[in-house]
Point group: C2
Chain length 206, copies 2
């Protein structure tokens, strides 16, 4: 049965109880990430990176720096989403591959590489981190929907010790951890939640 | 025909040429936002807000502070996504409505309100802005997919003058602009883009 997008959106809930014995292959996780990274990003610089935790002992250790949340240990996998604060370093690869694929002529490629190198490095680190953080949200949402469409569940977790994470997993200075997403088969239904009335979140019509 | 999620994801591209004469009703935009705001958010505090631009003159003026990008003026609507850096102020409404809907008992509601009020206001403004920025990415991605599923196109734009935006539209100090999303009917196909190889964005398997 083909589900409509809206069904997947409505059925996705944050799941915190997982079937510990259910495994998702590394290959399938990669496939899901390939699909998720079709998300747009600032200048297509794809300022997102991933660390995939599948080893049982590793998940147990990760739990210790993630507010001891059960799902970090019991989900099939935990995907750490990191941001790239030096995303402009990917510019030649990104636009070079578009040129090679015949999607961009050489003049355009050169112009875009130059303009990226003239702007991004001059922007403050704070601005670059904001860009990467927003783009990480885009890719994370696609990942959670893709998981749901395949019958899996997720929960995004911002509450973990980011300093300890960077230390423990030797995250290069260029990258910074943003969120952990557990991925697995639900063992119990998620809590249902409510949303603010739409009139509360639309500030103005202009 | 019911499209699969993956088709929608693959068909979504950033569109910069729009049919100026195509209108999307305010009611349909609200409906799309209602669906998009089913996205998860930190403690379900929904730190996202929207300003909807549909008036032609208003879009023309907005274009002036958005790097003069054509799509700001020619798309049917532009949806400004803002973050709420004082998201904890929604806590009683959020958990109160969950309690009223029978989804949360009173003790749990009180405990969650208390813990939110004990943690979020103590976090730095930078941390709270990061949370709102990530969550804005989640809701924006759902919005863009929902639009695509309905036959519309979008492009997210981070490049606009956020200070001038906040001034011109009298954005309360509590909120901050993050991104503009144009929404409309494509008048020309989007540029195709490439993605970094998945091996480049997966830093490690643990």
């Amino acid at each position: 049965m083909t589900k409509q997008l809206i069904d997947i959106i409505e059925e996705r809930h944050s799941v915190r109880k997982y079937d510990l014995n259910f495994k998702i292959s590394k290959e399938e996780i990669e496939e899901m990430l390939k699909e998720a990274t079709l998300a747009p990003s600032s200048s297509n610089l794809q300022a997102w990176r991933f660390i995939i935790f599948q080893d049982q002992q590793a998940k147990k250790e990760l739990r210790e720096i993630a507010n001891k949340q059960e799902q970090v240990e019991t989900a099939s996998a935990v995907i750490a989403v990191l941001g790239d604060k030096e995303m402009y370093k990917s510019v030649e690869k990104v636009y070079g591959s578009a040129h090679e694929a015949g999607l961009m002529d050489e003049a355009n490629m050169k112009r875009l590489i130059e303009s990226t190198n003239n702007t991004y490095p001059k922007a403050s680190e704070e601005i670059r981190k904001n860009i990467a953080t927003f783009d990480a949200g885009l890719v994370s949402m696609q990942l959670m929907l893709i998981a749901k469409a395949r019958g899996y569940d997720t929960v995004p977790m911002g509450g973990f010790d980011k300093v300890k994470f960077a230390e423990k997993y030797h995250v290069p200075e260029r990258f910074f951890p943003i969120v952990l997403i557990s991925l697995g088969k639900a063992a119990a239904p998620a809590f249902q939640t409510t949303r603010l009335p739409i009139a509360d979140v639309i500030l103005e019509y202009i």
